[in-house]
Symmetry: D2
Subunit: 377 residues, 4 copies
């Protein structure tokens, strides 16, 4: 029998709702049976209709959804604004459900730490969708780092240059009015919280290293918002390596060529999301070796592929790889099996992202290197 | 209510079965409710279990499936070996169902022509999955050609270089034993029928031109099979343009960088499947303009996208674009609406592919330019 | 003491004159001391002034130059129109000089064969500048083929797509008036003779194979000239391999991405002139290895480099590699040393190019496969 | 008559000597007539022989060269170790000669400032070879910035990742013994002084902006040297823009893909040295336009080209573009013409580079943002 889930938030006009739905159902082992896609009835119904949810299983209030549907669900997906994640996730966990929640966990670190403790105490099964870790070649890279192919990592450069915000300004001739630019809604950080946490997570996911301290520079090039839309951070890692993390929303013309470069003493590696099926290995000689999804030495990327090489996979398949593992964990729990090694980001990863943002804000204010609190998670 | 379909053929170890299932269900508007995935009971059940088909809706004989399930189905997907396509499709059409069928339509042209006539007489709704035409940037290119942005097309180069067969030989040290290399099973052509028909279809789909004659060279570099695994064809088009079509399965190391170049009097365009979200426009100055999915002038590619640019789409989304249109047609027919402009390949496209292969075989034997019969379709 | 040469043809407004001068003098071991750059006094003097040739060593008649300067020269460079190459080269050889001559040797094969015999009888030292063979990574590829790294070559694709002619038409709105489009001046072939001979030479240079027969399609998309500006040829090689050669001057927007792909049973290789320092090795696994100039396994490319990798070399350095070897041969002869293994194209290579063009014209007229005469050279 | 120069330093085993010789003589308007290539007689003679300098014009002591040759020279090229640049340049200027000197001007800022004042007082003609500014597409980019095509520059990322040092270590299994790693010889900075000054110069050259303050992180991953081989700097510009500058010698496998990205409010641009003939324009739509050398809108790149597009130029041609302008200045001065707009880097540019390095060292020590002294130059 398929796993059954409901989605909270994620109506048709959102970016992430359709992505979660597609990813969770891609392998045909789960179905969406109920939804609270929007608090506005009209939007809620439109999504329900598109996705063939019976009208009597649509709810404008997520509390009602949990009250009436929890017994028939295995998990909920939360794609609401950041400020509501914890409240909803808490209720879902209390209702005994597993939770897949979009990132970041919250606008700021403060509420996230006690929530994570709560989730841990409840032994809750919770995924926070730092989805880039689902790409097959990223997982290949992670195994290569873990097996020591790179030697000792010395240098990391990670960047997510985007130009959408400046593109909107250049096209419209004025700054857009958006809730994302309002600190009351999104919290004290825009670019670092929104995409910087992805870059931070991917760096630690691949290298297996921890960013221990950072120095941050951030900029707002808008007249109407003080939230940063551009940030450059210097990083130091636990093993003595150092590096750079760059995010921007005013990098005009850049679509999102999320790029990770890791340089070790024996080998360097490079991955760019625009060509996600390639992993470039940089050799001491200066020559390169290019591994392609499904053709790699350790077969790691094959394990995370759905179709043979020569037929491009992309973002959705990578996102679905998170759900594959999440589903495995949900099934194991359902069957009282004690599974291990689930490869999806947890609430602890989500909290680490917020610690990273907080340290960056502190560093920027103080103009000095700042340590990232290791904290409980 | 979702559309309901059954799949015939396409068990777990096949390439195309999982692809059809994923593509047909991607948008959540159709569900697979029955299957005859294999004539072998064990394989049939394994696929049914993976895809959550109830045991009592699994059939090892497609005839039984049609007999018992036709009333509860909207369409069937046929992914069986080429030699059985027509028999099964005929039965499905007789049962009043719409049909999505893998290509080529048959091993050869002879049986396909009367079948196409039959399908036409029955006003059957039938899709033949020349799936590369589903890529957003391919559809963008098609609109650009149709609107005259290229001026008069003069030169076309299309190629599907693959190295899988030689890769198997190089790795194993001997030639593989495969049903695909047996002319009794696949017919008189391998590379031209299997991938050449894709290249031929895409060329005509994008340019709006017809290949009117060709000169073919084909080669088998195997000891154990005379079927060509490599072919190069010269083409002439109805408007006076000319070009080259290349397919190979011994192009060692090539994964499948399906590449189409069309040169007009005003503009040239280039698309490569390995970077499917880019369309290169080649200008008279020698400079280039690169359009990306979702950012293009005519918004054609946006219409065929599921997620914003910066988040790579691939093969499955393109394949699903065929099913989007097929579903639209099925729904229209179900509702007795007379829809138009469905953008998916039909049985006529499938028959044209076989005419192309037949002309190539004739040209090769005779060592001369050969016309492609325009025929009924 | 530096070698001394004169240049015949190649005034400032020509493409090839400055290229020959730069290439021949790049290494500082030769100097241009006299010239007959143009039969028009004004143009001749302008070139002489730019290149610091004393006025009394400038000649509008090459015969006068040879008469007065032969004793003080080691060689001449011939960059005049094709129709005059043989006459001038003959005179220079009679005067006891070595000769570097642009390609093709002549408008057609007929006069070239007896000239080659004459040059051979005279034991003349003569280079015909099929210059693409000078690229370090091309020479690396040649060594790899010779050492058997590719196994048996099965498939070759070589192309020189250029769009300059259609670019001129698209920009100007009309066809250009050019001597190059006049068959009386350039002979019966344009694209195949002008760039096709380069593609043919490079193919044989790298693979060590001979093209034994071909099938040619050619097109003129001009109103005002019947000379082909676009041609596609199928090739068969002596070892059983086959392939495609494409040249075009109406491939709108293509600058000249001269591209050579050679597929063997063990390895495939690919080189593109726009990134001349890279050689892509295609492995049976489908992964790639990219060799860079100066970093390659056999050190061949290092031997033909002037500056370390990371500092791009290009066309002129490759052209100069021909002159390096030509100078070595001139010096050996001067010193009565019997040197060997000079790696530059000779009159025999030039004649082979003309045989290739003649076979292509025959094939096109007859509409059938045509053998290339092995001839004396 | 050709300009005449002598070279001091730059023997055959050096990188820069041959590069300067090739670049200065590429256009045939200057010749090297004397040299003091090495203080060791053997090496000095070997270089003289290779480059056809008469034995009696070779000097192991540069003072002797200046004493005996100054009257017959137009300029000298200085390619000695950094610590000797000022001493030699001072002597050459005293001797009335123009000077082309490699960068950096000295090991540190202190002696460079009074030297620059001296040179200015003497109205000396002096070029410091920040050679990357000679690339045609870099000059195209510079004109585009100056004309306002980019709008207001907001973000700059410049990087010179090299892996040669780590490559030597990985290959040899131990750290190399090199004079470049000795602070007594090269001064207090390695990567920032050696390549960082290039990146800094190119950034200011293209954007027309000044880096006003910076924050520096630097690292030495060697056991045997404390000099940094890796550095990441945050930059703020006079107009409010910000950015990142990265240099490394332990970026394993990177050859030297010197990359500059400039993001304005209207347009972004990107240039990578490994493909030096391309300039990517990033548009607000997210689409791209790629300009190629010789095909660009403002014809700037055509002016700095030697051969037509389709025939790759590289490092030497770019370097020679500096000498073209330097020669023009020398000729103007020789003719007592007052020329202007010479596009080559001067001693002031050289001093600015050292100010940049000094500020970086200060910032690193203090762990805070540091202003770059505008100073006299």
């Amino acid at each position: 029998m398929k796993l059954r889930f409901a989605m909270i938030g994620g109506a048709l006009d959102s970016f992430m709702g359709p992505v979660h739905r597609l990813s969770a159902t891609m392998d045909g082992d789960a179905e969406m049976v109920a939804g609270s896609f929007s608090r506005r009835d009209e939007k809620n119904r439109a999504a329900g209709e598109r996705w063939h949810i019976p009208v009597d299983r649509l709810y404008t209030d997520y509390r009602e959804l949990l009250a009436k549907e929890a017994h028939s669900l295995d998990y909920v997906i939360i794609c609401t604004p950041n400020s509501t994640h914890i409240e909803i996730a808490t209720a879902a966990i209390e209702a005994g459900l597993a939770v897949a929640c979009d990132k970041p966990v919250d606008r700021s670190l403060e509420p996230a730490v006690p929530f994570a403790r709560f989730a841990r105490d409840k032994k809750a099964l919770m995924m926070v969708t730092h989805n880039y870790s689902g790409y097959p070649m990223i997982r290949e890279a992670r195994v290569m780092c873990a097996k020591g192919y790179l030697g000792t990592v010395q240098r990391v450069v990670v960047e997510m240059p985007q130009g959408w915000l400046q593109g909107m300004i250049a096209t419209a001739g004025r700054e857009p009015e958006m809730w994302r630019l309002d600190p009351d809604i999104v919290g004290p950080s825009l670019a670092m919280a929104d995409v910087g946490t992805h870059a931070h997570h991917l760096t630690e996911f691949v290298t297996g290293l921890r960013v221990t301290s950072l120095f941050a520079e951030k900029n707002s090039y808008l007249q109407t918002s003080t939230l940063e839309n551009d940030a450059n951070l210097l990083m130091r890692f636990g093993n003595g390596a150092s590096g750079v993390l760059m995010v921007s929303e005013i990098a005009l013309g850049d679509r999102n060529p999320f790029r990770l470069r890791v340089y070790g003493t024996k080998l360097g590696i490079e991955w760019i999301q625009e060509y996600p099926e390639r992993l470039v290995l940089k050799e001491p000689s200066g020559n390169e070796r290019i591994l392609y999804r499904g053709h790699s030495a350790d077969a790691e990327s094959t394990a995370w592929s759905r179709i043979p090489i020569g037929h491009p996979e992309g973002y959705l398949e990578a996102f679905a790889n998170l759900y594959s593992e999440f589903h495995r964990a949900v099934l194991d729990r359902k069957a009282n099996r004690s599974g291990t090694g689930y490869l999806f980001p947890t609430i602890d990863d989500g909290v680490r992202g917020l610690r990273f943002v907080q340290a960056a804000l502190t560093s920027y204010s103080a103009g000095r290197w700042t340590e990232i609190d290791g904290g409980e998670s």
